[in-house]
């Protein structure tokens, strides 16, 4: 397959902008792996993706991995899967846990960050670090992705440089587990919004 064949159904004006952009994704679970697939298909030029985890059988109900990848580090398995879809963009995979000390080291040059971690305390750490480091650079958060149904509860909210996607209600826990349809929807919302922001769309929300 040639690059021109892959991009035959892409708007050349859009592609010329997003192919120069770099998006960071922290977390390669349900949200991160599915958002990465959408962004790779869309032709974002550079993806920087961090996760410290390995693939468990229970991840396959919603994360973009396959049976033969169980026990492999998520970031390396995801890189393989993404390259099978779009080999024409660059990938930087970081097999480490991100904290307030190393966040800038890996993500200083991204145009936009997608937060895709599981635990609320980690979301808070990432968001507070980002606000302090890059008060004007967009960060797209996921908040409220668990359960089944509630399509009409999903929304996007903007606060300065912060964008929140999800229902902001459904906490993921033992009594309310995450299921593929809603997780994939929120991941797609984040990816769609990321492209919109990078293309400089004017419709502020």
């Amino acid at each position: 397959m040639k690059k021109t064949e892959f991009y035959a159904k892409h708007n050349s004006k859009i592609l010329s902008v997003i192919s120069k952009k770099k998006i960071g994704i922290i977390g390669a679970g349900g949200i991160g792996s599915n958002a990465a697939v959408s962004l790779a298909r869309a032709g974002v030029g550079h993806l920087v993706i961090a996760d410290f985890d390995i693939i468990q059988p229970s991840n396959l109900n919603r994360q973009y991995y396959f049976l033969d990848q169980i026990e492999k580090p998520k970031v390396f398995a995801l890189e393989k899967n993404l390259k099978k879809i779009n080999p024409f963009i660059s990938y930087r995979m970081i097999n480490s846990k991100i904290n307030e000390l190393n966040l800038a080291e890996f993500f200083f040059d991204v145009d936009l960050l997608i937060e895709a971690v599981d635990r609320a305390d980690q979301k808070k750490m990432i968001l507070e670090s980002w606000i302090e480091l890059y008060p004007n650079k967009p960060i797209v958060m996921a908040s409220g992705i668990a359960g089944i149904g509630g399509n009409n509860m999903l929304h996007t909210r903007k606060i300065d440089n912060i964008y929140i996607c999800g229902d902001e209600k459904t906490e993921s826990d033992e009594s309310n587990l995450p299921y593929a349809p809603k997780v994939v929807m929120v991941a797609a919302m984040q990816a769609n919004l990321a492209l919109e922001i990078l293309l400089g769309a004017k419709n502020d929300r």
Partner: protein, 70 residues
């Protein structure tokens, strides 16, 4: 007669009080969320500042509630 003064918390207009620190605002708003990020007029206020950061009249307070799942 003294004019009332206000602040905005997540776009809700709330009557300003002299001793309005973040802790008090969260209480007045009945926000009991476990994991939050607070911005006042675009600036981050961390947890250690919730008692000591006093909010001026007309301030725009944003409370972002983060919940697990990713």
């Amino acid at each position: 007669m003294i004019d009332k003064k206000y602040i905005y918390v997540n776009s809700n207009k709330i009557e300003w009080q002299k001793d309005f620190n973040i802790t008090k605002i969260l209480k007045v708003m009945n926000y009991t969320f476990k994991m939050i990020v607070v911005k006042v007029d675009g600036k981050l206020v961390k947890k250690e500042g919730y008692d000591t950061f006093f909010v001026d009249e007309n301030s725009d307070v944003k409370v972002i509630h983060l919940i697990s799942g990713g």
